[in-house]
């Protein structure tokens, strides 16, 4: 089993920046979060958002929907079984979700937020009470669908967006690092 221990702040920051990318409400927020990843890719706010929307938002069918239920339950609908499973996990983690029943609980940005906050407890506050839940969330949920989400976005892209590829690869490396860092016991 690999035991890589990356620098704590960058590990936390990367989750945070990726979270902020997927939760951005407009071009500006998206660009700020994207730039924070140090991509060294020159792209305008508008182009970045247009590409992001084509990949993940819409209004036409995006290349890859950023919801767990799409990959776990049903490729066409949100708010299904796995969404409600994530809802239960959040409740057990001690979270309340102000956008409950508005933005599905299993939206990638929300899940990264949960993961970021749990990791923050451990890394910044050295609190391990929710550590098992974080691992469970990572191995039994995020790992179940995020790789498929990334693969779909990378494989089906006809647009060859450097910026989106960078985001997806960052997400992929984050997931690999988190899963291999922590190990699994079944």
């Amino acid at each position: 089993m690999k035991t890589i221990q990356p620098h704590t702040s960058s590990r936390l920051d990367e989750v945070k920046h990726l979270r902020d990318i997927f939760n951005a409400q407009n071009s500006k927020e998206l660009k700020v979060a994207f730039d924070a990843l140090n991509a060294s890719i020159e792209i305008s706010e508008e182009d970045l958002e247009v590409q992001f929307n084509r990949y993940f938002i819409g209004p036409m069918e995006p290349i890859a929907d950023p919801f767990a239920s799409i990959y776990i339950d049903d490729p066409d609908v949100v708010m299904s079984k796995s969404t409600l499973h994530v809802r239960e996990l959040y409740e057990t983690m001690g979270f309340t979700y102000p956008l409950k029943n508005i933005i599905p609980d299993d939206h990638l940005g929300v899940e990264l937020d949960a993961y970021y906050q749990l990791l923050y407890l451990e890394e910044a506050k050295e609190i391990t009470y929710l550590s098992d839940l974080r691992h469970y969330f990572l191995h039994e949920h995020l790992s179940l669908w995020v790789p498929r989400f990334i693969a779909r976005a990378l494989e089906h892209s006809e647009h060859d967006s450097k910026a989106m590829t960078f985001i997806l690869l960052q997400l992929k490396s984050l997931l690999i690092r988190e899963t291999t860092t922590q190990g699994v016991t079944a």
């Binding site: 247009v50 609908v77 996990l89 409740e91 001690g94 029943n101 923050y120 191995h139 039994e140």
Partner: protein, 758 residues
């Protein structure tokens, strides 16, 4: 570090473990250490055992607001704020506890990943596919500024056009027209693509469009389903038809296409399209000659029977009727005589038949036949087409005053649509009405001022309006196209701004049918998803922004509550008709209007007060006082193309959902095997279907359900498929429609095409 999956799952799923875990969590002070994000620390952890959360079902009353005969009463089951399933309401004897497959898919529709989620703007030009999110405030700012700029430059708001139709027939959705009423005199795409020629025909004959309760059909002794296919498109009506048949009634389907309903009938008669009126005239002649007409009823209740009979005697030759309709004379005679002998007998006329250049005259001819047989004004009888008899709401959302000083159109009064919006008595101005059935050319040709802004609501223009290629040109010349919808359809593709609209489960409304007699409350069952808003809320936001920019420029309320707006639609007349004291009673379930037999009292709303075989109004407007035989449009290409409704969709709605895509994944052209053989086309071949309008590539299915000389393609919108039958349909008018709906219907079944194998 390791973790135990079993341990975590026990915490999540086992009440006692969960309580102890959460108690520990609360005591540990962990909650105050969360950094906070979208998720917040829950300071009020629920540690009850058993933990039910909000897991018990809540139920809500809903209605299916689509353009469908059945307008189902729905009961919606919600758990923890999430719709779980729906069922037909059992209180309505019509819905009878069951919805159609489309209705049953509503959970998938509401939670479809394909729904429009945010207001968005197309930044690379219409059709570019480059979209950017904008806030609702930004969207309203752009639209409000454009409207005020146009008003300043043109001196009127006639450059702003609204096209809205039947995507949601909820009563408060007339608030969209209300929004346009509230900004001034504007341009409306008016009239109706649906049923106008038939509405005119029935109004000329009887002074109204008013059908008997469909539930009575169970007691009919003879039912003719004439150009209507309820087995696909009004499935709840079929139980009455089956019951009648079980009790010995004869059920005959007359249709150019062998439909699902035909397969359930006692007899199917395949008629040549566009000749139905002549068949009805021939049948009337036969029963009169046999002395089976209801002379007593005719004497007491009709006007012009003598002239009508003289026309039949002189002009209608039965040999010709047989030849032109393609039906053997003996079969016509048997049909006419057995219908006349059965009492009560009824005819249900579909909306396809009147979509011919002679459509209105055909409905008049069938009305006349039913009248001659003595079945008008009778329980379980009637010439059934549709009704708006239960639609007497206040239209409070619709009725908005114009801002002071508004300047409008001064030309002749134009089209109005299903719900009449009369000329403002106190004003010299009206809105400018353009014919909805000629949307493309009317948008292009409108001048002084030209149309610069188009608002599309409850309507997929590209799927439903005609001549797609010209529509693209029309949209491209507009400064600003706003499409308010639930899904990204082809119309949205050509928009500048798309606005995500709530489903009926996310707002309050009230619904009635144009067929049955039930009234249904539509409660908000769930929170609106993402950033979707109801059409009324959108109107309020626009009003707010317009008034911020220019006080008094919009009279629409600046904030609305859909429940309060819905409540305003009720009045004592509705309460009396449905036997309730308050709309709140509808929370217990749908209610039915008090029983009434149309025209049983012999009172018709025609000028003469009688059933008018001879109509002066018809003579004045359409050149023929009598229901005469009018020849259908001459072919301009080799094959007739008919484009009826599909059972997998409701116009352009539902086909994009998984259940429908599963069973009906792609469009086909249905070709008679004889025609296919002549063109060397085999099942599954891709063919080009083409005419002077355009060309479609589509797979062939061979079936003798369609007659030789005719091809069939359903009018549908497919997600991610360029197919659109209106590529081939021109905007030729039907004969009637201008009388009651302001613009003639469209003769879409008089489309002609050719095809070849690719």
């Amino acid at each position: 570090m390791s973790y135990s999956k079993e341990n975590v799952e026990s915490i999540v799923n086992n009440g006692i473990s969960r309580r102890s875990f959460l108690k520990g969590l609360a005591a540990s002070g962990v909650l105050s250490s969360f950094p906070g994000g979208i998720l917040q620390a829950n300071e009020d952890l629920n540690t009850k055992i058993p933990y039910l959360g909000e897991k018990s079902y809540q139920t809500f009353r809903n209605a299916c607001p689509r353009n469908c005969y059945d307008t189902c009463s729905i009961k919606t089951y919600v758990k923890d704020g999430v719709m779980q399933f729906i069922e037909g309401a059992t209180e309505s004897t019509y819905t009878h506890g069951g919805c159609c497959v489309k209705g049953n898919s509503y959970v998938k529709r509401v939670y479809s990943a394909r729904r429009l989620k945010f207001p968005m703007m197309q930044v690379g030009g219409k059709g570019s596919g480059n979209w950017k999110r904008i806030s609702w405030d930004q969207a309203m700012d752009i639209i409000a500024k454009k409207l005020l700029e146009m008003k300043k430059e043109d001196g009127t708001l006639l450059g702003a056009a609204l096209t809205k139709y039947s995507g949601n027939f909820g009563i408060t959705h007339y608030g969209i027209e209300g929004m346009f009423n509230s900004i001034g005199y504007t341009t409306r795409l008016a009239g109706t693509p649906c049923w106008p020629a038939g509405i005119d025909a029935q109004n000329l004959d009887m002074g109204d469009m008013w059908c008997n309760d469909p539930e009575e059909m169970k007691d009919s002794k003879f039912i003719i389903l004439w150009g209507v296919n309820p087995a696909s498109n009004s499935i709840h009506s079929m139980k009455y038809i089956y019951e009648a048949k079980k009790k010995g009634a004869k059920v005959v389907v007359i249709d150019p296409v062998f439909t699902e309903a035909a397969s359930k009938a006692s007899q199917y008669i395949q008629i040549k399209a566009g000749t139905d009126g002549l068949l009805a005239l021939g049948m009337a002649k036969i029963i009169i000659e046999a002395g089976l007409h209801d002379q007593k009823w005719l004497d007491a209740n009709s006007k012009g029977y003598k002239e009508y009979k003289a026309y039949l005697d002189k002009e209608v030759k039965l040999d010709n009727v047989s030849k032109i309709t393609g039906i053997p004379l003996a079969m016509i005679k048997e049909l006419a005589l057995s219908f006349a002998k059965a009492k009560p007998a009824t005819i249900w006329m579909g909306y396809g038949m009147q979509r011919h250049t002679n459509g209105g005259s055909m409905i008049r001819a069938i009305d006349a036949f039913v009248a001659v047989s003595g079945n008008i004004g009778k329980y379980a009888g009637g010439a059934r087409y549709g009704h708006l008899n239960t639609w007497g709401f206040n239209y409070a959302a619709l009725s908005q005053t114009k801002p002071e000083g508004s300047v409008g159109y001064t030309g002749p009064e134009g089209a109005k649509g299903d719900v009449a919006q009369g000329k403002d008595a106190k004003s010299n101005y009206t809105d400018r009405f353009l014919n909805i059935n000629k949307t493309a050319r009317e948008l292009i040709n409108a001048k002084e001022p030209k149309v610069r802004l188009l608002w599309v609501a409850c309507k997929n223009v590209f799927a439903q309006d005609f001549d797609r290629n010209q529509l693209i040109r029309a949209f491209q010349q507009l400064d600003l196209v706003v499409v308010a919808d639930q899904f990204f359809n082809e119309t949205a593709k050509w928009a500048d701004i798309v606005l995500p609209v709530a489903t009926q489960f996310e707002e309050y409304d009230v619904n009635v049918s144009y067929w049955h007699y039930w009234l249904t409350l539509n409660e908000q069952a769930i929170k609106p998803l993402f950033e979707v808003k109801s059409d009324l809320e959108i109107a309020a936001m626009l009003s707010k922004r317009m008034n911020q920019l220019q006080t008094g420029s919009c009279t629409f309320p600046q904030s609305v509550d859909t429940k309060a707006m819905m409540a305003k639609e009720f009045n004592p007349g509705i309460y009396e008709q449905f036997g309730i004291k308050s709309w709140e009673e509808l929370k217990n379930g749908p209610v039915k209007a008090k029983a009434v037999i149309p025209y049983a009292d012999g009172k018709f709303k025609t000028p003469s007060g009688k059933f008018e075989f001879y109509s002066d109004k018809a003579l004045e407007l359409f050149g023929s006082a009598l229901p005469t035989y009018l020849e259908v449009r001459k072919p301009y290409d080799k094959f007739r193309m008919t484009s009826p409704h599909s059972r997998w969709s409701l116009h352009s709605q539902f086909q994009n959902l998984e259940w429908m895509e599963d069973v009906h994944p792609e469009p086909y052209v249905y070709i008679n095997p004889d025609d296919a053989e002549a063109k060397m086309v085999k099942e599954g071949d891709t063919v080009a279907v083409f005419n002077k309008q355009g060309l479609l590539r589509v797979k062939a299915k061979l079936t003798d359900n369609v007659q030789a000389g005719t091809v069939l393609m359903y009018e549908q919108w497919y997600n991610n498929n360029i197919y659109n039958v209106n590529e081939l349909v021109d905007d030729t008018s039907s004969d009637m429609g201008a009388f009651k709906t302001g613009a003639p219907g469209v003769a879409l079944h008089d489309t002609f095409v050719n095809f070849r194998k690719l």
